[in-house]
Amino acid sequence: MSVGHGLPAFDLQVLRGGDGRRAFPAGGLSLICFAKEDCATTRLSMPLLAAAHEAFGGAVEFLTLLQNGEEDLVLGDEYGLAMPLLDDSALHTSFRYDIDTVPTLILADREGHELRRFWGFGRDDWRDLVGHLADLTGVDTPAIDWEAYPESRPGCGSKSVEPGIFERLQADAEGSPIRARRIEIAPHDDVHEFMFDRGLTDGLPVVPPTPERLMRMLSGTKRDPQEVVAIVPPNLAPATVEKVAINAVMAGCKPEYLPVVIAALEAMCTDEYNAHGVFATTMGAVPVLVVNGPIRHRIGMNMGIGALGQGNRANATIGRAVRLVVRNVGGATPAGTERTTLGTPMKFTMCFAEWEERSPWEPLHVERGFAPEDSVVTVFTSTGLSLMVDQTSRTAHALGGSLGMKMEGLHNLKSHGMGDVVLVLPPEHVDTIWRDGWTKDQVRDRIQAASSRPLRELLQDEESGAGVDPARFGPDGPTEEQLAQPVPKFRDARSIHIVVAGSNAGKFSSVFEGWASGPTGSQPVSRKIEEV
């Protein structure tokens, strides 16, 4: 609150030098000093403040604001300060006065308008101030041995701009951009236990989303905190940038990860992706986030050794953040609307980056229509991660055959007609394929060929009740011609999405098994990541 175009008004508790509270402006000349005892420059200034008060205190209201509250009363003891010492330990007044440095001295006129301001220690600043006070009041200038003081000294950082404190003050200030409900944890309660009890976590501890952490997280995007990013199933609740940021804090994200989380949610909360089905299915599907483009490097994502594993903060927390949004905003909780029979550890998080520089092919996002310099997240749906070991194939054809044999077993050997899967090729397998100059499409075609099987071998039978129901072909079952017909594992070879990641050592590929795909299932969706 400002007084006209004057300084912000305040009304603070008097700690010493008077009773009750003291308000500014109060109709007279005022000298406001922001101080804290743990600052040598404040201490250097205190004898001058005391001398000025002694001389001009009858005509000027001296208001000294203590940033550490009662702890700073030692200044009063040591320097004989007789003016009101006010409690600004909440730092709201320091924040509203935009104080970066202590001490800061502000001379204000009767209406509360600023006449002069200086900070740190400047002998000439003080000499001018004392002269100005003498002119304004008609009181004689006090005798001060100016030569006993240094010419200047830098001040100390104001407590109100310390990391963590500044963001809290921002969050508390009028016009704060944040609107989410504040939950006060009782002093005898434990914030972690509270969040577990409220069902706000994925079963692992989360970072408490305090207002100051939220403010820091919001610095990761230029978007308005109240902008709706997505309508999140199953409750179809709007997720604002602020709500996403709160959950990103909880997941352990850095602010620079937030744009990836936002883009991933935009991708997931589409009709094509069908997040409702993904999270509800008994098959235990999860979103798999693949990040491409320059942001991978900027935020330090892992695309190399152990890329699909734990240990990298960006990979781990971006995937976790989208899950927490779906849980907390969307309301998908295990045994609630999330009905997975077994689940997978990927339910916690699954996000990695493509090692584009180690790939001879177009990266995933370029294949999907984006420019190489775009940063993009693509969201797939997977029900499990499966390893393919082949350390001995030396040709693209042979390795492609191994991949086909492995991938035919996805879900069930007899389950053909599969949709989208993500094949992650490590550098050594890439090198084997690239030595023969194969394109990604050639790899896909080889996988299709190696994983096709005559219908005869896919029918439900005594050995395995899975597979194709013969009754689908009418009362007489399939014809001999139909039985001999090879059935491809994948409905479309293009649904085999090839991504390069992993360490330079090791001939082990991984495949993310798919879920129901196509318009009635979940289709991969890519979104460009807004770079801040």
Binding site: E70, D87, A90, R182, F194, D197, R198, T210, V232, K243
Partner: protein, 98 residues
């Protein structure tokens, strides 16, 4: 006086459809085992608890009653007392009287 330090504040990560409150432990249908009667040490709290104890014994003869008292009603029960009650009792009735 400096402002009292507030408890931690966190920002609600949910869609805010549900009110914020701690869920009460589910109440059992039958009272068995041990019931604690906690006197907060306000005057005549013991009178109320005496009556309550007799009433409980009449109606629930199989239930053991244990009595506890806070050192003072002005402060929260000490941690040791809370732990003792939690360990020894399945139920607790806290008596406020004046």
């Amino acid at each position: 006086m400096a402002e009292a330090p507030a408890g931690t504040v966190i920002m609600d990560p949910t869609d805010e459809r549900e009110p914020i409150r701690r869920e009460l432990t589910r109440r059992p249908e039958h009272i068995t085992g041990t019931v604690g009667l906690l006197d907060i040490s306000k005057p005549r709290g013991n009178v109320l608890l005496d009556r309550l104890e007799r009433a409980l014994q009449d109606r629930l003869p199989g239930v053991e009653i244990r009595r506890y008292a806070k050192p003072t009603y002005t402060k929260p029960a000490p941690q040791d007392l809370r732990q003792k009650i939690a360990q020894e009792c399945g139920f607790v009735i806290e008596a406020l009287a004046d």
